[in-house]
């Protein structure tokens, strides 16, 4: 799987999306490789992109004074990385670092926002998909708040 088009066709986040919509998204996307340990973005940085992970793993982390980075979550193949590009102030809340050699599709945030503004149908479809991801992660976070492994 080499081309941007093939990656867009294969990624579950875009499964079932209208082919013409996928074609327009492909115009705002390119494939990218991250080496293990490379920083994809840093906390507080400008959020102007997002990624559809095809292979590999990425960790989200948060730097705590005195203890260094704490890993919040690991994202893997099939996951979406980054949604701070969607809303002002367009700043990353966490940092992201590749854990493994990672292949992803990088999408230009402002360009995708513009596509959504011009085509509300596509915008609604993408927002629904992002909401599903956000809700899923919120639920996973709530479950972790229960301290699942606290007592047998």
């Amino acid at each position: 799987m080499n081309t941007t088009r093939e990656l867009i066709e294969a990624h579950p986040f875009l499964a079932g999306l209208d082919p013409s919509a996928r074609q327009r998204l492909a115009g705002a996307a390119h494939r990218i490789h991250f080496l293990p340990g490379s920083a994809i973005f840093a906390e507080g940085g400008r959020a102007d992109r997002f990624w559809l992970i095809q292979d590999g793993r990425v960790r989200l982390d948060l730097h705590l004074a005195g203890t260094g980075p704490v890993v919040i979550e690991t994202l893997a193949s099939g996951d979406v990385l980054g949604w701070s590009w969607l809303f002002p102030p367009y700043r990353w809340q966490f940092g992201a670092v590749a854990v493994d050699p990672t292949l992803a599709l990088e999408l230009d945030g402002p360009a995708v926002r513009q596509l959504c503004d011009h085509d509300p149908e596509l915008g609604y479809e993408l927002m629904q998909r992002f909401m599903r991801v956000v809700v899923h992660r919120l639920q996973a976070t709530r479950i972790r708040l229960l301290d699942l492994y606290g007592q047998p």
Partner: protein, 273 residues
């Protein structure tokens, strides 16, 4: 003089090996001093007596021949005393009690979902399921990397054909494994092929983890009647006499601890229980 009911009289077992799994969890191998208990099956438990302190139910995490292995987390006075038992000391054991894990059908994959100390009663299931490459998946969750148990065995399980995936709730940057809730590991397994016999799921951990784990397995396509969970209740007598472990119509020490997920869901979501 009265004769004690055999299953109520603890039999002496000597600690012959001790391994600290984590800061608060210890695996003990126990050999009988004289006549031992009868044969056990995976998922059963014994009542372990720290003489002079008290008695608690502990799942069997392994063993061979007359030797029984228990993995205990120190959460109270009795479990602390058991964890502190040095090699050469003697504990009392009664049992084995309860219904264990049913064997998986000959066809279909096996998914083991374990949270925290819940991996201990599932270890015999894992060992029995090795050497069938690709059939067994073991998904393990813990609070932190330091809370994982049996870590020295994961590579051996992998080498014997199991897919072993590990996640923790939080970790420092030097942890290269997964971080996230244990059910998210299901997404890393191959999709369930509806044309093949369905998988069998074994879930063990704290109650909330088992409930969510069973729900996630069902959502992934595992039939509820092929998902097994191990209920934890206040077992005392072990022989369904005292009623301390009653959960609705079940006396968990006799009718459990292993029950199917459909049965467990009805009981665990009942507010009055």
């Amino acid at each position: 003089m009265t004769t004690p009911i055999p299953m109520l009289a603890p039999r002496p077992y000597r600690v012959v090996h001790r391994h600290a799994e984590t800061a608060d969890t210890v695996t003990l191998r126990l050999a009988p001093v004289g006549a031992g208990l009868g044969a056990w099956s995976p998922g059963q438990f014994t009542m372990v007596y720290a003489f002079g302190v008290g008695e608690i139910p502990v799942s069997i995490s392994g063993g061979s021949g007359p030797v029984i292995q228990h993995t205990v987390r120190a959460v109270g006075a009795v479990s602390r005393a058991i964890c502190d038992a040095p090699v050469g000391s003697v504990l009392g054991l009664r049992g084995p009690f309860g219904q264990g894990w049913p064997e998986p059908p000959p066809e279909g994959d096996v998914i083991v979902l374990a949270g925290g100390i819940g991996l201990a009663p599932l270890r015999p299931v894992i060992l029995a399921g090795l050497n069938e490459p690709g059939r067994l998946s073991v998904l393990i969750g813990a609070r932190t990397p330091a809370d994982l148990i049996f870590t020295a065995e994961y590579d051996r399980w992998r080498a014997a054909g199991a897919r072993v995936l590990v996640t923790v709730d939080r970790a420092a940057a030097d942890w290269t494994g997964h971080v996230g809730v244990v059910t998210t590991l299901l997404a890393q397994l191959p999709a369930i092929d509806v044309g093949r016999p369905p998988p069998t799921g074994y879930v063990c951990g704290p109650e909330i983890m088992m409930r969510l784990g069973a729900e996630a397995l069902i959502a992934a396509g595992v039939p509820p009647e092929r998902i097994w969970v191990s209920l934890e209740r206040n077992m005392r007598c072990g022989i369904a006499l005292c009623g301390h472990c009653q959960l609705g119509p079940l006396l968990v020490c006799r009718d459990g601890p292993v029950v199917d997920a459909g049965h467990a869901a009805r009981l665990l979501q009942h507010r009055e229980l």
